[in-house]
């Protein structure tokens, strides 16, 4: 797993680094952009449909053949949809849960990954392998006992079932993050640790001042994965939250869906509002995201 063969090492001397990926000839360029456009249109179209519906009066939505340009642009749909239900409160709840989960996951997963990659202790590899096996376990197997456990603890209708597992290295499928971070940590030269230990540093100090600062791309990937996962989670809140003032955006939108089945404009506006922050986040961080995925060598 450490042998992430880099192109640099395997490239024979004297061959230009970009040789394999040299710019295609002109007809190749045309084909490339044609392909990208051809793929992009069906990818984008549902979004265009969403936005145009969010800005339309219901009367204009239900005309055939369909119209693509709203007349007039009903910006008020957004305001009305978001106040028809307490979406501001749902947003706050979702953000609280997501932030608590991100901090807990990044902290406990990176600490564990540090232990599994850079500290030697008896049984380390066996424990790591056991932990990893949890990733393959279908959530359906653990969901019923976990629900019963939280119920016995009186934690139904609190945020605890949605946030506490994150502080145990994401528990279950979240262990994938430990794997990802461990893979990344293994690429950092061990000489740095040794130098720090000679200077009298503790493992905690090495973790905090040597390894973590060098691992930003991997941390960003785990942050994005966890944030999006929590933001989008539907089953968790559905099982554990009951009172409306504790709802997350997912639950709010789902109940909105059944309440306002006739008011499509509102529904579309609310959906668009839930998607937009995620898209913005991804756009600004996507460079780290791709880099992180590549560097951590998920493919192995």
């Amino acid at each position: 797993m450490t042998a992430l063969a880099t192109p640099e090492k395997t490239r024979p001397r004297g061959v230009a680094p970009t040789a394999g990926l040299r710019r295609p000839r002109r007809y190749g360029r045309v084909l490339l952009y044609a392909g990208l456009l051809l793929g992009a249109i069906p990818t984008i179209l549902p979004f265009v449909w969403l936005v145009r519906s969010a800005l339309m009066a219901d009367s204009q939505m239900f005309v055939a053949p369909p119209e693509w340009i709203p007349r007039p642009f009903l910006w008020s749909n957004f305001g009305e949809a978001l106040t028809a239900q307490p979406f501001a409160l749902y947003l706050l709840n979702t953000v609280i849960i997501a932030v608590v989960c991100v901090i807990g996951t990044v902290f406990t997963c990176s600490v564990a990954a540090f232990s599994f990659s850079r500290l030697r202790w008896k049984g380390r590899n066996v424990v790591f392998a056991a932990l990893l096996s949890a990733v393959m376990l279908p959530y359906a197997v653990t969901i019923i006992p976990t629900f019963v456990m939280w119920e016995r603890l009186g934690a139904i209708d609190t945020f605890a079932p949605l946030t506490v597992p994150a502080w145990f290295a994401g528990a279950g499928g979240g262990v994938f993050n430990v794997f990802l971070l461990r893979q990344f940590f293994l690429t950092i030269p061990f000489e740095l640790d040794e130098a720090a230990y000679i200077d009298g540093a503790s493992p905690w100090r090495v973790y905090w001042t040597v390894v973590m600062p060098l691992s930003k791309p991997a941390i960003v990937v785990v942050t994005i994965f966890t944030f999006i996962g929590t933001w989008n989670d539907f089953l968790g809140p559905l099982l554990y939250l009951q009172s409306e003032e504790k709802y997350t955006l997912s639950l709010g939108l789902a109940s909105f869906q059944s309440l306002f089945i006739t008011q499509w404009g509102y529904l579309m506006a609310a959906s668009a509002a839930m998607i937009a922050p995620i898209i913005a986040l991804f756009f600004f961080l996507q460079r780290y995201f791709i880099e992180g995925v590549t560097l951590t060598g998920i493919k192995n």
Partner: protein, 293 residues
């Protein structure tokens, strides 16, 4: 130093180990025990042995949900693999505005499951939806999409393929790891783009394809939200996905024991299918460092 290091090692791994015990091993054992009982939540579990498992054989809906889930997996996984591989190949070229292209193709994956469902209900609407509107304008026959028994699953397959982004990103990472000197070698031998693809890209990508295949199958076996919010398993149970059936048994009908048995059967099915895929993989997955492993 050794013991000092070991103490720190255990301490730092402790949250993860505790999480594994409390949220994975414990629930697994509990679930296995529950599956041998008849149990309404709030009451006391009664031990019934393997009755729940035996009962599955006569449960029409169990077989139905298994069939529905298999049908969906067989459709969604290959389609997603092909689409995401093709797009990853395009994004691995030096195109202008690569950040924008990548974001565009990844966008659908970011859409929250529930917003995704809301959006697609509207796209599938037989009278005013996007798909039928386009078909009508092109003079083609329209469809009832998720509102008809025969087209419901194919519709959901289309919907899931739209979110091919995660698979694509992993393909992209794999493509960037293909050693360039191999392409050079083919070019020196006079090979064109087709031979480069067939003799270098595809063999070198088989581990990545295999990874995405396994993750895809395991994932589609566990579909839930579409069935819960969009179709409620209908029409006529044509979209009764397996996990949705478990959910219904457990949390709507409060049959915790039976639902646990269903969950364990799913677990066993996934294990067997994964095992078979791994065994079959030896024939077609190419590991460069096979000797080193």
């Amino acid at each position: 130093m050794r013991r000092y290091e070991a103490r720190w090692g255990l301490l730092m791994a402790l949250p993860a180990i505790l999480g594994f015990v409390v949220f994975t091993v414990g629930p697994m054992i509990a679930s296995l025990f529950f599956s041998l009982t008849e149990w309404q939540i709030g009451g006391e579990p009664t031990f019934v042995g393997v009755d729940n498992y035996v009962g599955l054989a006569d449960d029409e809906l169990f077989w139905k949900s298994l069939g529905v889930t298999t049908y969906y997996t067989l459709g969604a996984v290959p389609l997603t693999l092909v689409v995401s591989f093709a797009v990853a190949m395009l994004l691995n070229q030096k195109a202008r505005g690569l950040a924008v292209w990548r974001t565009i193709f990844y966008l659908p994956t970011l859409v929250p499951a529930i917003a995704n469902v809301v959006l697609w209900i509207w796209i599938f609407n037989p009278d005013f939806g996007l798909l039928n509107s386009l078909l009508r304008q092109a003079g083609l026959p329209t469809s009832q999409w998720v509102y008809s028994e025969t087209t419901a699953i194919p519709s959901l397959i289309i919907m899931s393929t739209w979110g091919f982004g995660n698979t694509m990103v992993i393909f992209l990472a794999g493509l960037q790891g293909v050693p360039r000197h191999l392409y050079e070698a083919v070019s020196i031998d006079g090979g064109g783009p087709w031979r480069r693809f067939w003799h270098v890209t595809l063999p070198m990508m088989t581990p990545t394809i295999f990874y995405n295949l396994v993750v895809g199958v395991v994932g589609t076996f566990q579909v839930f939200t579409q069935a819960y919010v969009m179709t409620e398993g209908g029409p006529n149970n044509s979209t009764l996905f397996y996990v949705y059936y478990i959910f219904r048994k457990a949390f709507t009908e409060s049959e915790m024991g039976y639902a646990s048995a269903l969950a364990w059967v799913l677990f066993m099915i996934i294990m067997v299918v994964t095992f078979l895929m791994f065994r079959n993989a030896r024939r077609w997955v190419y590991y460069e460092m096979a000797g080193a492993r």
